[in-house]
C-alpha cells in the first residue's frame, strides 16, 4: 500500500508542475492575470516529499515487493545505509533529484520578492517545466515504485559494497543540490528573456553561487571517495562521470563572473543569459551521458538506451525552448557602457571565454570515444589523462594568471592606476620560478605550471588586500570572493605538490623483509589467507615504522582473486598523517612466495580537498554577506 501512496504523490506532483507550467504559459500569451502560484509550489514540494518518504519507508521495512528496494537493499544492511540506499540506483536518485529541485524552488519562492505576482509566476513556470520533465521521466521510464508482484522475493540483492560508505551517502545529495540549484538562475535568465527584470543579474549571481558551492563540495567528496575507496591512489581520473560534473561546474563558475559584470555594468547581458541556459543544459547532458550507458565508466547505473533516448529528447526540447526564448528576447541595452582592453570587464570576459573553452575541451575528450566509434564503425578508443592534462593545464594556467591579475584592475578603465601591481606580480612570478627551478631540480612541466598558477593567484590576492587596507569595507564585502580564490589556489598547490613529490616504489618483498621509502621502514610481517567458496583473499600485514618518530603502525592491504574469471580486486590501506599519506597496495604474488607491492607516499594530498572546502565556504560567505548587505 505504501508504495502505491508514494506513486500517487509522485504523479500528483507531476500534475501540479504541469498545471503550473500551462497556467504560466497561458497567462503570458493571453496576458491574463492569474492567481499567485506560490501555494501550488508548496503543494508540489509536499507531494514529492511524501513520495520520497514512502520510498524510504519501503526501504526501512524491507519491502522487497518493490523492485527498486529488492535490487538495492538487504535486511542485513544497517538502517543508515538503508536510508542512503534510496539514491544508490538510477530510479531512486531521480526521485532524490526532483525532491531537491522542488526544495530549491521553495527556497526561491521564499527568498525572492518580485514586484508583480505575475512576473514571479512566469519564473515558477520555467522551474516547473524542468520539474515536470524530470518527474515525468521518473514516472514513465524509471519508476522507483514498480512492484514485484505476485511473488515478491524473500531477500534483496545487496547495495553495492563500494557504495556502503559515508562519503557516498552525502556525495550524490550534494551534487544534486548543485545541479538542481542551477535551475533557478536558468529560470531567472529565461524570465529576463520575456521581460522580467527585477534585479535579475544580482539574483542569478546569488543563486548560482549557492548551487556552485554545493557542486564544489559534491565533486570534492566524489574525488575523496575515489581516492580512499577505489584504492588507485589517485584523486581525479578524468572518468566520464567526473568530467560530466566538472563541465557544469566550469560553466557555473563562468556564469557567476559574467553575472557580476552584468550586475555592476549592465553589459554581457546575452552572455549571462546564455551561460545560465548552458549550465543547465550542461548538467542534463552530463546526466544523459551517465545514465544512457553510451559511455563506460566506473559509475554503473542500470543502463538502458531507451531511457537515454528519452532523456536526450527532454534535454533537446528544453534547449530548443530556451534558445527560442533567447532568440526573441530584447536584450539591447538602452545605453552602452564602454570598457577598454585594460579593465576588469575585459579580464572577466577573457576568463569566461577560457572557462568555456576548457569545458568544451573536456566535453570533447569525454565524448571522443563515441565520435570515434561512429566514424570508424565500432572501433573503440579511450581518451585518458594525457589528453586532458595536455589540454586543460595550459588553459587553466592562463585562467589562473588572468584571475590573479584581474582582481587588481578596476571597472571601465584601469589606465589611471599605477602599474606597479603588474610589476610586483611579475617579481613574485619570477621568484617562484627561480625558487622552484633551483630547489626542486625541475619537476615536470605540469606541476611546475601549478606552482606558477598558485603564485599568480596568491600574489594577486595579497596585493589586492594590501591595496585595499584603507578601504576595509571593500575587502570585507568581497570576503567570499577572496576566500574562494584562496581556496582554488590551495587546491592548485596541492595538485602541484602531489604530482611532483609523490614517491612510489615497487618492491619485491617476502615475509620478514623490509624496505625503506623516504622516512619509513616498511616491513612485511605476516601473510594470511581467507578462503571463500569461489574466491580467496590474501591479507598481507605490513609494519610501517616512522624513522623520525619511531612510531609503528600496521597496514593491511588485501588482494582477492576470482580465479575462474581472472578477476582481481585489490584493497589498499592508507596511513594518514597530516603531512602525507602512505599508501600500500599489492600487485602480484610471485612463484617464490614473495609479493610485488606498491608503496606510495602522497604529500599534502589533503590540500586538494581542503582547497575545495575553502572554495565552498567562500561561496557561502559571498551569498550570505549579500543577503545581510541588502
Amino acid at each position: 500500500m505504501i508504495p502505491e501512496i508514494g506513486n500517487f504523490f509522485l504523479i500528483a506532483s507531476f500534475s501540479v508542475a504541469t498545471f503550473i507550467f500551462c497556467l504560466a504559459t497561458f497567462s503570458y500569451y493571453f496576458e491574463r492575470e492569474i492567481l499567485d502560484l506560490s501555494t501550488l509550489i508548496y503543494f508540489k514540494f509536499g507531494f514529492v516529499f511524501l513520495s520520497f518518504l514512502a520510498l524510504e519507508v519501503s526501504f526501512l521495512f524491507d519491502d522487497f515487493s518493490v523492485l527498486y528496494v529488492a535490487s538495492n537493499s538487504n535486511p542485513f544492511l544497517p538502517n543508515y545505509y538503508k536510508i542512503s540506499a534510496l539514491w544508490g540506483g538510477h530510479e531512486g536518485s531521480m526521485l532524490l533529484f526532483i525532491l531537491i529541485l522542488s526544495l530549491w524552488i521553495i527556497l526561491f519562492a521564499l527568498f525572492s520578492k518580485y514586484q508583480s505576482a505575475r512576473d514571479k509566476n512566469y519564473l515558477y513556470g520555467f522551474t516547473s517545466l524542468i520539474f515536470m520533465s524530470f518527474a515525468g521521466f521518473t514516472i514513465f521510464t524509471s519508476n522507483p515504485f514498480e512492484r514485484l508482484l505476485p511473488v515478491p522475493p524473500l531477500n534483496g540483492t545487496d547495495l553495492n559494497p563500494l557504495l556502503q560508505d559515508f562519503a557516498f551517502t552525502i556525495h550524490p545529495p550534494m551534487l544534486y543540490l548543485g545541479y538542481a540549484g542551477l535551475v533557478i538562475p536558468f529560470a531567472i535568465a529565461l524570465g529576463r528573456c520575456i521581460g522580467v527584470k527585477d534585479a535579475w543579474s544580482s539574483r542569478i549571481k546569488k543563486w548560482t553561487t549557492l548551487s556552485w558551492s554545493f557542486l564544489t563540495l559534491g565533486i570534492a567528496l566524489g574525488s575523496w571517495w575515489a581516492y580512499y575507496e577505489l584504492g588507485w591512489g589517485g584523486w581525479w581520473f578524468w572518468d566520464p562521470v567526473e568530467n560530466s560534473s566538472l563541465i557544469p561546474w566550469l560553466i557555473a563558475t563562468a556564469l557567476i563572473h559574467s553575472a557580476i559584470v552584468t550586475d555592476k555594468r549592465n553589459i554581457f547581458v546575452n552572455w549571462t543569459i546564455l551561460l545560465a541556459v548552458l549550465a543547465v543544459i550542461g548538467s542534463f547532458i552530463g546526466m544523459f551521458l551517465v545514465r544512457s550507458g553510451i559511455l563506460t565508466s566506473v559509475h554503473t547505473f542500470a543502463l538502458d538506451p531507451e531511457r537515454g533516448l528519452i532523456l536526450l529528447i527532454i534535454t533537446l526540447l528544453i534547449s530548443i525552448y530556451s534558445f527560442y526564448l533567447f532568440f526573441r528576447a530584447d536584450t539591447v541595452p538602452k545605453e552602452t557602457t564602454d570598457y577598454t582592453f585594460y579593465s576588469k570587464e575585459f579580464f572577466l570576459l577573457i576568463n569566461n571565454a577560457l572557462l568555456l573553452i576548457l569545458a568544451a575541451v573536456i566535453l570533447f575528450g569525454t565524448i571522443y570515444p563515441i565520435i570515434y566509434d561512429i566514424f570508424t564503425g565500432g572501433k573503440s578508443i579511450t581518451v585518458g589523462a594525457p589528453y586532458f592534462n595536455l589540454t586543460s593545464v595550459p588553459i587553466a594556467f592562463f585562467i589562473a594568471f588572468f584571475q590573479g591579475y584581474g582582481i587588481l584592475t578596476s571597472w571601465g578603465n584601469s589606465k589611471k592606476q599605477k602599474n606597479y601591481y603588474l610589476l610586483l606580480l611579475g617579481i613574485v612570478f619570477l621568484l617562484t620560478f627561480l625558487f622552484t627551478y633551483t630547489l626542486f631540480s625541475y619537476p615536470d612541466i605540469f606541476s611546475f605550471a601549478s606552482y606558477l598558477m598558485f603564485a599568480a593567484i596568491i600574489s594577486g590576492l595579497v596585493i589586492y588586500i594590501f591595496k585595499n587596507l584603507n578601504n576595509k569595507n571593500l575587502v570585507v564585502n568581497n570576503l567570499g570572493m577572496v576566500t574562494a580564490h584562496f581556496g582554488i589556489a590551495i587546491m592548485i598547490l596541492g595538485i602541484g605538490v602531489v604530482s611532483s613529490f609523490s614517491q612510489n616504489k615497487e618492491v619485491i618483498i617476502g615475509k620478514g623483509e623490509f624496505t625503506n621509502l623516504s622516512n619509513y621502514k616498511v616491513k612485511l610481517i605476516e601473510e594470511g589467507k581467507e578462503e571463500f567458496s569461489n574466491y580467496f583473499s590474501e591479507v598481507v600485514q605490513f609494519e610501517v615504522e616512522n624513522n623520525v618518530t619511531q612510531k609503528k603502525i600496521l597496514l593491511k592491504p588485501e588482494k582477492s582473486f576470482y580465479p575462474a574469471s581472472n578477476n582481481v580486486m585489490t584493497e589498499s590501506d592508507i596511513y594518514i598523517r597530516p603531512k602525507e599519506d602512505l599508501y600500500i597496495s599489492l600487485s602480484e604474488k610471485l612463484e617464490s612466495g614473495k609479493w610485488i607491492a606498491k608503496i606510495q607516499i602522497k604529500p599534502f594530498v589533503r590540500l586538494i580537498w581542503i582547497g575545495a572546502l575553502i572554495m565552498m565556504i567562500g561561496g557561502f560567505l559571498a551569498v550570505f554577506r549579500r543577503i545581510k548587505y541588502e
Partner: protein, 168 residues
C-alpha cells in the same frame, strides 16, 4: 556581443552534440566483449542433479541465461526465450540468488525454456562469470569461451544484432 552570432554559434554546437548522441543511441555499434574462457564448475541443477562443465559440449555454441523469480524483467524476457526454445535452441538457465521452491513453481507455472538450469542461490557462480544482475545472457563458443554478454532483456532485435552475428 552580437546576440545573433551567439545564438547561431550555440545552436550549431548544441545541434552537433545532439546529433552525435542520437547517432550513437540509434545505431549502437555493439562492442565486442573481452573474450574469456568459461570456468570449470560443479554445481547443482534445480532438479538436484549435479552439473559440471562436461554438460558444455565442445564444438557447439551455448547460451546461458541468468534469471530469478524476483526479477520482473526476466518475466518479460520469458516469452522470447520460449520462442528460442521452440526454434530448437538449447538454453542453459542460471537461477541466480533465488529460492529453489519458488523457482520450480515459476517454471511450472509459466513454462520452462531451459534445457538445464544451474541453481546458484548465493550468486557465487554468477560472480565467477561476471554476472551483475538479472536478466543477463551469455554466448559461449565452440571452445567454451564467453564471446558475448548482454545485460537486460534479450529481444528479437538484440538477438539478431548481438548474438546471431557471432554464431558461425
Amino acid at each position: 556581443m552580437n546576440k545573433f552570432r551567439l545564438f547561431i554559434f550555440s545552436t550549431i554546437s548544441i545541434g552537433i552534440l545532439f546529433s552525435i548522441f542520437t547517432l550513437t543511441l540509434l545505431n549502437p555499434n555493439e562492442k565486442l566483449i573481452e573474450v574469456s574462457s568459461f570456468p570449470s564448475f560443479k554445481m547443482k541443477e534445480l532438479t538436484g542433479d549435479i552439473i559440471n562443465q562436461d554438460a558444455f559440449i565442445e564444438g557447439e555454441y551455448k547460451l546461458i541465461n541468468v534469471w530469478a523469480t524476483w526479477c520482473v524483467n526476466c518475466k518479460l524476457e520469458h516469452g522470447f526465450l520460449m520462442n528460442l526454445k521452440n526454434k530448437g535452441i538449447k538454453i542453459f538457465g542460471l537461477n541466480y540468488k533465488d529460492d529453489k521452491e519458488k523457482a520450480i513453481r515459476w517454471l511450472d507455472q509459466f513454462g520452462n525454456p531451459y534445457w538445464k538450469t544451474i541453481y546458484d542461490p548465493r550468486g557465487n557462480f554468477g560472480l565467477e562469470i561476471g554476472v551483475s544482475g538479472a536478466p543477463e545472457t551469455y554466448l559461449i563458443d565452440k571452445e567454451n569461451k564467453i564471446i558475448q554478454k548482454h545485460i537486460g532483456i534479450v529481444n528479437e532485435n538484440i538477438w539478431t544484432n548481438k548474438f546471431i552475428k557471432l554464431i558461425k
